[in-house]
Symmetry: D2
Subunit: 165 residues, 4 copies
């Protein structure tokens, strides 16, 4: 059965508006990234929202939860802003019981040469195929079960809650 990819925006998909000189959201880059990665994994890509995760509300999180429930697939990747990825994961964990869900994102927009996005997408898509039922974050090459992870905003990395680094 294919894997569902739910797009929620985040740094991943920020683009440069050359008329306004600002970063903005247009379309997701996920399909282009899968082509670049020569991915042959059967996926259904669905854009749910395109937003900075700092602006995400409880209502937005319920929408994501609802889409996870409705999806016929048992395995779901969500591309999401990193700032509140941990919060969204918790909402999903409380509400979806029988699926493997992996959230991922990027520290640098895909459109930049120096983006971590392609690495993270390869990572999330791989973890989702083999991890047991549950909600996880895939960042920095690792996976973290929801509830056991935080974003270290000073370093810009994810770490387990009892981590001291």
């Amino acid at each position: 059965m294919p894997i569902r990819i739910l797009v929620a925006g985040g740094t991943f998909d920020k683009e440069y508006d050359e008329l306004g000189g600002r970063l903005f959201f247009k379309d997701t880059h996920v399909e282009e990234m899968l082509r670049l990665g020569r991915s042959r994994v059967a996926v259904a890509v669905q854009t749910v929202m395109m937003m900075d995760s700092l602006e995400m509300t409880d209502s937005d999180r319920r929408t994501l939860l609802e889409q996870c429930r409705r999806a016929p697939e048992k395995r779901i990747v969500i591309t999401h802003g990193t700032d509140t990825m941990v919060e969204t994961a918790r909402v999903l964990q409380d509400g979806v019981l029988d699926k493997t869900i992996v959230l991922t994102g990027a520290m640098v927009p895909y459109a930049f040469g120096s983006s971590d996005g392609l690495f993270n997408l390869g990572s999330a898509l791989s973890f989702v195929q083999v991890l047991p039922t549950g909600v996880y974050l895939a960042m920095n090459g690792k996976y973290f079960p929801s509830g056991q992870v935080r974003k270290n905003k000073k370093l810009g990395v994810f770490e387990t809650l009892d981590s001291s680094s």
Copy 2:
């Protein structure tokens, strides 16, 4: 325990020699790629050889096998040319029993903008953390147990042996 990354060369690491106008091997890009991916996975990177996998001999494969055995780590990623990745996997499968080994590579050199390398490295590094003991290939976003995969040289993709696509 950290993950061992054994570098065997392949398209992954081909560079452009601007004086000679040819592709050649110099140093591995694996460490640079891990930095780009903001990887925080503990790894030990070891260059075993830098070669086109079409030129790899039985002796080279035994060297790789020997390095897999000697490595203190239980989980190993090998970056390898795609043309004979299947053959090397078989040699490792016959010789290493108690480790998880994932071979990966690239269809386009990392130094090209259009490379699948970063996606594949993220994928392989993720699979190796969660797959049980055994030898696998990680390409095209999927993993294939050794012995059940071939490279479709016409399409430039990997497929399971009974696949018809």
Copy 3:
């Protein structure tokens, strides 16, 4: 005699702040771009300011004018934001009489894969070597004498004042 390159910031040099999720200025990319272009033109690169040209004041423009006057070189390239490049050119035209000055910039930051910056720098550095005394803009592969050009902010291109395109 070498060419002076005065750096005034602009889109050219915007970088992505991965902790804050915003574009910002750090160091100029001009030297890195000249290396990439394998430039062998003798240049002296001098950072005068690093700012969005929308925030540039009359005082900033006088500073640039002063640096143009003080420079021992007869040929000067200025990297500058595109939004007020035309205004700065006019100030320089009124104040510097005996030098060839070429302003250039970028519509997309150099750090993005899709930047026009490298093309524009190659263009400006070439025009400055052959154009007679005067102040010019080099954008979109063309040169425009100061006073005869405007930025079409809707299209994001430069055009001669009597242009109707």
Copy 4:
């Protein structure tokens, strides 16, 4: 009047054949590069040949000369392999008297992230607009009149004939 761009191949246009693992020629990247540079210069792009300039024969050079003569434009840019660019320039110089012709190329294929191609194209397109009648090479940010330049194959740069560097 527009500028004619004659494409003769060279490193500029080398691509990576991911099935064969080799560099090869397919289509020119010149139009894509002009788009990236947001060029608004009126040009007519014409592919004359796609070859490594080391394999170029006298007959190929006569073909280029013929195309320069036939072109209605007075200003012509030729993208060409760097190895024999000097030889082709000499043939053109002997045969075309009343046009400005600028040859350029690249040390690294455009498809590589680290290419000098975009810089060189911006440079050549600029020089051709302002230089007087004659045949020139535009490389390394400079222009060299034909007959006064050689490629230093050890350093991979162009230098004037009396240069000692």
